[in-house]
Symmetry: C2
Subunit: 193 residues, 2 copies
DNA sequence: TTGTAAATAGACAGATCAGTCTATATATTC
DNA sequence: GAATATATAGACTGATCTGTCTATTTACAA
């Protein structure tokens, strides 16, 4: 059974990344030990280090996995809810509401990674920046396709709203209503473009 | 020389809290060890534990200190920039810009504390919630005094903007322009009240 | 001066951490 | 069946962590 140690998919690697993501989400990065992760994943210690050279590398892989998982989910959810670009600009806030109101919501893994590890971890900062850029592109392209003037500015505005609702939901809960609040403001911005 | 161990001010206690705040800001809570803090503060290990029973208690004290420091500074800055309630609703975003653009800005210590320590630390969650509530009250009272309709809703909206700009600045920098972005949206919301 | 309380340096305990090593087991491919 | 590669349990290292203890020193107050 192949797998060049850290690249290709494998059952153990999948369980490892899933367990690590759940643990990091629940307990933070520095607050989560390797032992808890491998116990959850049901794998041996060396299996982790055969796939990843270090905990830092595992964190980066978790963020990459989270990026794909989250953007795929959002894309599917938005497409299922709206087809017109202008509608999709707002529909993403309904999807956001589902996430913020979900049981295990604990804020954005990327923002938290920058806050906790930050400065010294260039790869983590880049992963977070790339992830947020995905939303910016989502907004900008839908804004352009909707014929909205000032698509760049609008994209930045909507990204700020999305981030704001996420942070508010982390600290004080009420994720659904914070997402609705963001959506209402977004509608105003799209309309007054 | 008095000081009932953990309550009243003392030079050592002040230096300790200042050093702890700077270290937590730069390296996170779990990522910062006691040794680094006492070395920066230039105090003995036991001096810390004479003032605070645990690292957790120190963290809570740092958050309390930060709350007073930050809200005092914002109050003074806003009052120096605007006197009319309606103007103060927007002036706080200029003050925010100064903070987000400052050298050592590393996101909101309260949001980061919830993200990193969260769940298990009730006192930390409460401190963060209380801190954010200060902004909400600031917005709400100024909105009421400005005669704006729907002051409660507006307060929540402006708080979301403030939080969004802060998170955006942490991940991608550009604090000044993110604060200006939030201010522009805020102006729209205040106007369309 | 004498009494009281705080601050000091530094050793220490006990736990936990990331990461390494070994020897065994398992499963696939030729 | 033989060869190859991965997964396994678990011991182990060395570092780091929070928190404790002791013995000394400093400094203020009566």
């Amino acid at each position: 059974m192949a797998a060049p140690a850290g690249k290709r998919p494998s059952p153990a690697r999948d369980r490892l990344l899933a367990a690590a993501q759940a643990r990091f989400n629940a307990g933070g990065y520095n607050g989560t030990g390797i032992d808890a992760i491998i116990a959850d994943a049901g794998i041996a210690r060396m299996t982790l280090y055969n796939h990843f050279p270090s905990k830092d590398a595992l964190i980066e892989a978790v963020l990459q996995r989270r990026h794909e998982e989250l953007t795929d989910w959002i894309t599917r959810q938005v497409e299922a809810r709206a087809s017109a670009p202008a509608d999709r600009l707002l529909a993403i806030f309904d999807v956001l509401g589902d996430w913020l109101a979900s049981e295990d919501f604990r804020g954005c893994l990327f923002v938290r990674a920058v806050g906790e590890l930050g400065i010294s971890h260039a790869a983590v900062c880049r992963a977070a920046s790339d992830h947020k850029d995905w939303y910016r592109r989502f907004f900008r392209e839908n804004a352009r396709n909707a014929g909205v003037a000032g698509a760049d500015r609008l994209a930045g505005d909507l990204l700020l709203l999305l981030e704001g609702a996420t942070a508010r939901a982390l600290v004080d809960g009420g994720g659904r209503s914070e997402a609705e609040r963001a959506k209402r403001i977004a509608r105003l911005l799209v309309g007054s473009g």
